[in-house]
Every structure is written in C-alpha cells, then in structure tokens.
C-alpha cells in the first residue's frame, strides 16, 4: 500500500504564507516533511511545469530532486485548466480542438518522466454549464474520449475528478457521463470529500465504478452542500455560505467520510495502485498543512492500513 501526497501546502515565511514552489529551500523542506512521515511519493499540478523549467531545468530533474529526499517519484499530475466558454469548455464542441491541442502539448512537456495518471475536472464550473443536460454531458464525454486516447498514447491514463461545484457532480450526471465515456480511455479518480459534499456516497459510487478507478484523493469534509453552494458565483470552494472551510484531513473528528468502509472497498476490489492524500486549503481557520499531513499519515498507518489487512485476510 503506497501513499502519495498531493501538492497543496502553505508554510509561514517572513513574507507571509508561501507554498513550496517559492524557493529550493521551501521545496526541500516540503519534500523532507512529506518523506519524514512516511509518504512514498508526490502528486503535483501540471501547471507547475513553468516553475519546474525555471528552477530545475526539466521535469526529470525535478523528479530527481524529489527522489534525493527519499521519495520514489511523481505519480500523478492534476491538469487544473482555466475553463472559459469562449475557447476551453468541455461541453462546447467548438472549443474541443483547442483543448485537444492543450493535452498534446501537456503530454509532451511531461514526457520526461513516467506518470500514472493525468487528472482532470471534466466539466466547467456548474454555473457555466447549467442547465446541465444529457446533450452537454455527451459532448463533454466525446471530448474526454479523445483526450484519453492522446494521454494513453503517451502512456498515461486520463482520469476524472469531480469537484462538488463542477458541471458533472450529482449521481445522475455522473452515471450519464460514465455511460458515454469509453472505459478503456476515460477513468475515474474518486475524491472522497468532493463526492460527500455533493451528497454522493463515496463508497457506493466507488463500488459501482471500481473497475474504472485509477486513483483517489483521501480527504474529509464536515459538511454536505445542502444550500446550493455548488452554484455560487464566482467561487464555491472559498465563498460558500455553508462553511469557510470545506476540507479536512482524514481522521477529523467531525468528518463525514467513512474511511474505514472506503478502505475495505478499495481492498475488496483488488485496487493495487497509489493512494493519494490531499489537504486542499488546510490552512483555513488556523489550520496547518504540515500538521494535517502528519495526522493524515498517522491515520493511514494506524487505522486504514490495519483495516486493509483485516479485509485482505477475509
């Protein structure tokens, strides 16, 4: 069972909170902390490419920097696109050529290392897509089938991560999307908190599509969105009225995700890939990324791995 840590990080500096990409020193400290508590690898965002080229010369060089600090490799990259209905919107067919070209360029940029997955949010923000219709989802699916072919050519799986505020987030929308996408080309990346917020049970959802799942973000939430925050303009993650902080680390006392049940399902389905931990915006309300990362790894080691062994022994 191997754990990877997804990129999100803030630490204090004399200039205020910074992320790990500010300097070599901040990256060095980040990677050492992740390694020290027992993660085996990291995930990142592919828009980090430009910083990587500036600071490390190449993606392969950066991965070496990672490896020198005791981590195995970079497992996944998240393609955080800036969706724009004029030129970059999966449900608008006229923008597809632009998107396909973006993925050809991206895969070329990252060809220096072997990634497992490139992760995407497969739809625009909900309010940019609504009314969400079957036709729009079908158009969206057609795009990702084509993108999946491009990434697979590069040896990388395309996998979809559904934010609670994106245009494909309800159970019905998800079912429609996966019905129209090719299982050989379009995979699923289950973010436990995001689905929970969207009132989709992550365990049931995972069980249903287990054979298409190529990864996870293990993170928790204390809230479901029951007031339509998923449609909030301009931003749902930071400006929702439900809470100023949606995401918490695993093991959180008020957390809604049943991680033990989730882990049992992961084992039952024979999943043998990487497990990613994410702490998106963990510094809100006085939180601390470093501590959250340690606590989550503690929970993985002392609770989930034990559950996994029990389940495997059945």
């Amino acid at each position: 069972m191997k754990w990877s840590y997804m990129d999100h990080w803030r630490s204090p500096s004399p200039n205020g909170p910074i992320d790990q990409w500010q300097t070599y020193d901040s990256m060095d400290r980040f990677l050492k902390q992740v390694a020290a508590v027992g993660y085996d690898a990291i995930d990142t965002f592919d828009h980090r490419y430009f910083t990587i080229i500036d600071q490390y010369g190449s993606v392969a060089n950066y991965q070496e920097f990672v490896q020198e600090r005791g981590l195995e490799r970079i497992v996944n990259t998240f393609h955080a696109a800036a969706y724009d209905q004029r030129n970059y919107a999966p449900h608008i067919a006229s923008t597809h050529d632009n998107i396909l070209e973006d993925f050809r360029v991206t895969m070329d940029r990252w060809s220096g290392i072997q990634l497992d997955n490139i992760i995407v949010m497969p739809a625009t923000l909900y309010y940019d897509m609504e009314p969400v219709t079957e036709d729009k989802i079908k158009t969206t699916a057609e795009l990702w089938n084509k993108v999946g072919a491009i990434t697979l050519d590069a040896g990388v799986k395309l996998t979809c991560h559904h934010e609670f505020f994106c245009g494909i987030q309800s159970k019905e929308e998800l079912d429609t999307f996966y019905a129209y996408t090719d299982p050989a080309l379009v995979n699923l990346f289950v973010d436990t908190a995001q689905h929970c917020i969207a009132s989709v049970d992550p365990v049931e959802f995972y069980e249903k599509y287990a054979d298409r799942v190529t990864g996870f973000h293990f993170k928790d939430t204390r809230h479901q969105d029951l007031v339509g925050d998923y449609r909030r303009r301009p931003d749902a993650e930071l400006m929702g009225t439900t809470t100023p902080r949606w995401f918490h680390e695993m093991g959180d006392e008020g957390g809604l995700v049943d991680f033990e049940a989730f882990m049992r399902a992961v084992v039952r389905n024979g999943y043998d890939g990487w497990l990613s931990v994410e702490h998106d915006k963990a510094n809100k309300l006085g939180g601390d990324h470093a501590e959250s990362t340690a606590i989550a790894r503690w929970y993985a080691k002392n609770v989930l791995e034990k559950v996994a062994r029990e389940e495997a022994a059945k």
Partner: protein
Amino acid sequence: MTWKRWSYMDHWITGTPQGPRQPTFNRNHTERYLRQLETLGFTGFDTFGFTLPIYASLYGSVPAFERALQDHGFVGLTGVFAAYPYATDFAAPHRRETHDRIFADFERTAAAVDGLAVENVIVMPTNTYFQVEPVTDETIKITAELWNRVGAMLAPRGLNLTCHFEFWGAIRTEDELALFFEHTDPELVGFFCDTAQHTIAGVDPLALFRRYRDRCRGFHFKDTQRVDDFDAYRTAPDAELMATGVPRWFYEMGTPEGLVDFPALMREILDSGFDGWLTVEHDKADLGGGNFAEATAVAKWYIDNVLDSVRGGAA
C-alpha cells in the same frame, strides 16, 4: 456622539521568528504594537499586573513605559487587571487565610502604579467555579470581605477597585452578583461590566449596567456568539479554552452572530452620565486563525462607524 475615552486591554499575539508570541517578546515588537494602537486612535491602555515587571524590564521602569505610551498618544497607563483564576493555597478569595497574602499583592500593585494615570484596578474577584463550589452565601460574603479591605486600601491612593466577573467564576449569576454587591461598600468596590462574560453566563449586561450604574467603573467591550447553556462554566481545569465543543468564546464587536447589543448599551451609557473609560478587549482573538491586529481594527471601525452614531435619549 464621539466618545473620547477608548482604551485597549493588553491582549495581543503577534508573529515572531519564534512563532506567535505576545508583543513583549522584545521592545521592537512592543513598539510595533503601540504604533498600531495609536494608529487606531486608542488613548487609554490597560494591562495586567503581572505584565508590569516585563514592561519595566523592557523600558527601564513602569513610569518609563508610561512615557512611551504617552509618546504614542495615550494619556498613560489607565487600568491594571489582577486575577487569581486558579485557587491555590496562597490565593483563594473565598478562604480568609489567603486574604493577607492577596492584600499584600495589591499593596505592591498600588506602589508600582503610584503617580501614573491609572484609574482602575480591575480584579477577577473569585477563582474558578469548580474549585469554589458549592458557591454559598458564605463564600460570597468572605470574598466580599477581602475586596472591601483591598478597596479601602486603594481608594486613598486614587485607585478604584472594580470587579470583573468571568462566566466561569464563582460569582456569576444575577443572585450571586446581587449578594456580592450587597455585602461590598459601593464606595470601595466597583462593578466592571464585561459584555461577553455576562452574556455567556446568561446575564444581560445592559440590565446589569442599569442596576449597578452608580458603582460601574468601566467596561470590556467584547462579543460572543454563544450562551453557556450546558454548564460549561464548571469545566475543569478551565472553561475558557477547554469547554466541550466551544474552542472560542470571544469575538470582537461587530462579529456576525454576535449576541451583545452594543448600540443599546452605548445609548444607556450616554444617558447614564458615565464618564469613565470604555475598554476594547480581544481575549484569545487568535483562536481558529484569528488575528489580533485585524480584530482590533475591525472593532475600532465599529466604534467609529456604528457606536459613534448612537445618540442618547432614545431609549
């Protein structure tokens, strides 16, 4: 009307290379703190008795620290807060055998502020509730004896002894307060109205002010979002930081969901003829990612933009 006498109670945490610390971390941080308060327009400064030696160490003496305050536009050191939150063999106001020792502490405090601008010596009159209970008429009367005695010592020195009641202290209900004030001399033992503490304890601070206006010597203006309706006041060893489910009780004025009606209180103050200091306090404002500087600025914004518009005579 614009109230001229706003003071700031000395709670503050700031970022240092060693993490979040009090401004007394060193003189540079203290100076930065005073500049921020000066910018916001506070002219009074209240501090804790136990902080006086630290300021003396940083500035050479307590009077030298007061001169530094005056350089920043303050009239000086206006109040000193003293407390024995935890009952020990040495300090327990409901136990007579500790009174001499407490009295001696206040003689030292009075000496330390002799000749300064200090008007109020604010005291937490009891220990934690859970250490005193059962709270009886007897415990309250013994406590009253102590503060009458301390008040009589302070009054000739031009210092008002005034009592500030925590929601977790051993005098907290309306009846307990009434009994305490009945047994203390109005000339020697004042009332200090902390808007949040009383609200948490389920006592209306406005009604208290109306009742004890003649002996009210000052206020802590702070807010809360929560009434203690689950006996949190008895939490051992501490109710302010360790109450189940409530990591933070206190907020600055103007907080959403705040329970204190500050404009109504302000109107009452204007009508009453009270002419003392109104003090802004932000106890533990850093909890949950809060920030003292910002909380203080937001509270002063509320004063300048909301409370200053309040007119008397409308009640």
